[in-house]
Structure formats: C-alpha cells, structure tokens
Amino acid sequence: MVGVMSNLRQQGLMSDAISHAALPGVILAFLLTGEKQLAVLIIGAGISGLIAAFFIYGIEQSTRIKRDAAMGIILSVFFGGGIMLLSIANRTGGGSQSGLDSFIFGQAASMVRSDTYVMGGLALLVMVLVFLFYKQWKVVLFDPQHANMMGIHAHLFSSLYTFLLVLVIVIGIQAVGVILMAALLIIPALSARYWTHSLFFLFLLSGFFGGFAGGVGTLISSSESNLPTGPFIVVTSSSLFLISMIFGVKKGLIPIKRLSRGTTVLSERTSGGEGK
C-alpha cells in the first residue's frame, strides 16, 4: 500500500534509496550498543533512513540537482558507508556471528515470533491510516496544491507518508534485505495497476499481491535449507508482475490488443490519446 503511494508520487526509487540508506544505521547501532537487539537495530535503520530521505529532499529543493541524481548520490554514499562499517563490525569480532550480513539479502528464517507480531502490527497500522484518511491521501496524491487550497495540508500527509515508508522499509529489511526491499514495495503496486483503475482497489490488491508473494517466496525458500528468502520473494513478486502485465484486464497487453480490434473501442481509445 505504501508502494502504491510511492509509485503515484513517481518516487519508486525513493524506497530503494531509503532501504539502502538504512544499512549504515543498522551496523552503527550494532557497533554502538555491541549487541544484536532487533529493536535497537531497527531504530538505527529508521534514523539513517530518515536522514537519507531528508538529505534527498534537501538536495532537490536547494540545488539544481534533480531528484533521481540526488537519490543516486545518497543511495551509494549511505550503502557504501554501510558496507564499510559492516566489514569493520565483522573484524572487531562478534559481528560475523551476529547475522548482520543477513540484513543485506534478508533472512526470514531467522525471524522469531515477536518479529512477526511487530510486522503484523505495522501492517495493521498502515491499513488503518490508509483507509481512515483515504480521502485525504487521494487528493494529496492527485493534486497536492488543490489539497492545500481546500485546507488539507499536503505537507502533513507527505511527512506521514515518508514516515510510513521508512517504517515499512526498516521493518521489512530483516526479511528481504536492504537491496531487495524496494522491489517488494514497488512491484506489487505496479502489478495491481494492471488490474484496476480505482485507487481503492489498487491499495487492496497491491497489499494482497505483496502478501501473496511474501508467503509463496518464503515457502519456496524454506523448502530447502540455506536458501535466502528475499530473492525468492522478489522472484515470485516479479512473476506476478509479468502475469499482470500480460493478462491484466485494465492495462494488460493482451486485453488492450483485443479491445482495439473492435472499431468503436478503437476510436474511443485514440480520441483518449490526445490528452497525453
């Protein structure tokens, strides 16, 4: 669901940047406290993710550098720093056993019961926030200036969105890792877009796709030992995307082809094309 928002804001890569940027936070938190307390690591990830988001917006607004370039800079700087810190952590001992490596590709199998409660709680929080303020999200995503005009503070919701995005990412990276987290956010949302033209169902469907990919991916990876979870979830998710792209009833390749064969629909589609 958060992925839907980031796609509609045309910021798909933002989640990639933030999740990469979470890595140094995780390692730093470990180095400073010296123990692998999940809560501590997540707070570290959250802080460095937020700092990265803050920097990206800052660069975009105060310089001539475009957002994609700003994201590129921040992403590589933070991730590079993270890898550097990781090697330090591994050398100082204790790091290699701590399973910090698993934050890069993720290891769902290493999760414990309390982790799933945290994830479940977060999922619930996101759902409640999305549907409680559905109206506000919609208008802020579609036309933030118009939202401001009507007294719906676009800034407030943008901040809430960034906060949720960081939250979802830092909770998710332990399962799929920092590199593939973005795929988990973006792909389900994109897949869902092929099946519906309604924002409401887009939210629902992308949540469902994400959950489905997560479930199937985890099942496959747990069928044999030592298979990383993240890549399997992403591959499952991508397969869903491929299916959606080809068969999706609203924007899929095959249905559109079939539609345009009918002459009436053809004329409708071409007249609609002018506006683009």
Binding site: K135, H146, I152
Partner: protein, 248 residues
C-alpha cells in the same frame, strides 16, 4: 464589497524577482482577465495570492477579512499539466474531490456529494463521461473536469490559470458559458488569459502584468494600445536594446 485586496506583493523564483510589489484590489462580481507576456508572473501571482507559492513581501486580504473558513470560498483551476492524468481514478471522482475540503476529517464522500459532482459535470457538458478513466480524456475534456471540480466547491472567488489554452471550440464555449453564469451569480473570477483578441469579449476588467502591475481597471479604459505596448513592448526596451546599441 472588495473581493480581493493585494498590497505590495512581491515574489521571487530561485532568487529572481518574478513579481515586483503589486498593489490592487478587485471588486466583487467582476470578471477579470490577467494578461501579460510569457514569464510575466501571471501564474506566480495567482499562486502567491493563494498561498501556494512563498511571497517575499506583501499582504493579501479576501472579502475584507470577513469570511470564516476561507478555504471553502476560494476556487482554483490550475493548468492542466499540474497533475498526472494517468492517476487511477475516474471523472466523477476527480470532481468529487473538489468537495473534500467540506467533508469532515474521517468521513467518506456520500451520495449527496456525488450528486453535486454530477451536477457540476452537467454544467460543463461532461456528464456522459462521469465514469470515464481520466487517462482517456482529451485536453479540452481535462480542462472541463478541472472546471467542474472548482464549480462544485461553490466558491465566491475563482482563480483560473489559462483555462482556454489549447482547448477545442466546444470546451471554449463551455468555459465562456460558465464564466457568464458565475458572473450572473455575483461571483468574482480572475482568469489568466493569452489570446488578446478575445479579451474585450470575455472580460469586464483587465489586469495587465509584466512583473510589475502595468494597469488594472475596466476593459474599455485599460485594454488600450498604450497600456498594451507598455506591457509587451516595454520589456524589450528594458532588456537593453539601448545598451546593446551602445556596446556596438
């Protein structure tokens, strides 16, 4: 009553002055065309007035400061390019969004709101497209949807940013009809407009702008050759044709 009072409004974009201390006031019930060359700051002026763009100096007052919950009384029709038309929603939904400011924080729009939105669509001859995806609209149809979204708010003061730009004849006719209706209801409208030929026919007041306020007043007094020359030709002189000659 005065609908809008602007005092000493200045605004800059990336350290370049775009608006230079504008001062004017607009009477209620007037239809004003905002005219000036490209880069004269027309859109910026509207955004600065509405608080969508930071201003450096100046004060804005609506309806002598007498209205409460101002947001319900101001309507804005932005340029079509302001939004992503591939957004997953349909025409009726977009128009209903015009009412979101008047619906409670946690409420969803109901039947009544959709009915109002549908009536607004009828006014702009778009009722038959109510369930159409917005990605399938032509430019003129998009413009009419935006217009309907502003109409449904039933505001008292409207700002429209180039609603006539690049639209088909049918849309142009519709917009004119809507402007006339708004005027007859005593609403105040400011329209950024590019086509000089149609200005006298469409608007009863004109605001000539080129970074500074050149002139504001009734069309027959203000829309004159000398003022227009000052608006459009003045800049060319100022760009330094004299200096250029000197340097040769």
């Amino acid at each position: 009553m005065t609908a809008l009072t602007v005092k000493n409004l200045s605004s800059a974009y990336q350290k370049k002055i775009v608006l230079d201390s504008l001062t004017f006031s607009i009477e209620e019930g007037t239809l004003t065309g905002v005219v000036g060359p490209n880069g004269a700051g027309k859109s910026t002026m509207i955004k600065a007035i509405l608080g969508l763009q930071p201003k450096m100096t100046g004060s804005i007052e609506f309806f002598n400061g007498k209205l409460k919950k101002l947001t319900n009384h101001l309507g804005y029709v932005p340029q079509r390019g302001a939004v992503d038309w591939d957004f997953p929603t349909n025409v009726l939904d977009v128009v209903t969004m015009g009412l979101y400011g008047q619906i409670g924080w946690f409420q969803y729009p109901g039947k009544k709101h959709r009915q109002l939105a549908f009536e607004a669509l009828e006014k702009v001859n778009m009722a038959e497209y109510a369930n159409r995806q917005i990605s399938q609209l032509s430019g003129g149809q998009q413009q009419r949807v935006f217009l309907a979204r502003a109409l449904v708010q039933d505001a008292d003061l409207y700002f429209m940013d180039e609603p006539f730009a690049g639209v088909d004849a049918k849309t142009e006719k519709t917009i004119i009809a809507v402007l006339k209706e708004l005027k007859s209801k005593g609403k105040t409208v400011l329209v950024v407009h590019h086509d000089l030929q149609t200005v006298p026919a469409y608007f009863d007041h004109v605001l000539l702008l080129n970074k500074q306020l050149i002139a504001y007043g009734p069309t027959n007094e203000t829309f004159t050759k000398s003022f227009l020359k000052k608006t459009y030709g003045g800049e060319i002189h100022w760009m330094g044709s004299d200096q250029f000659v000197e340097s040769l």
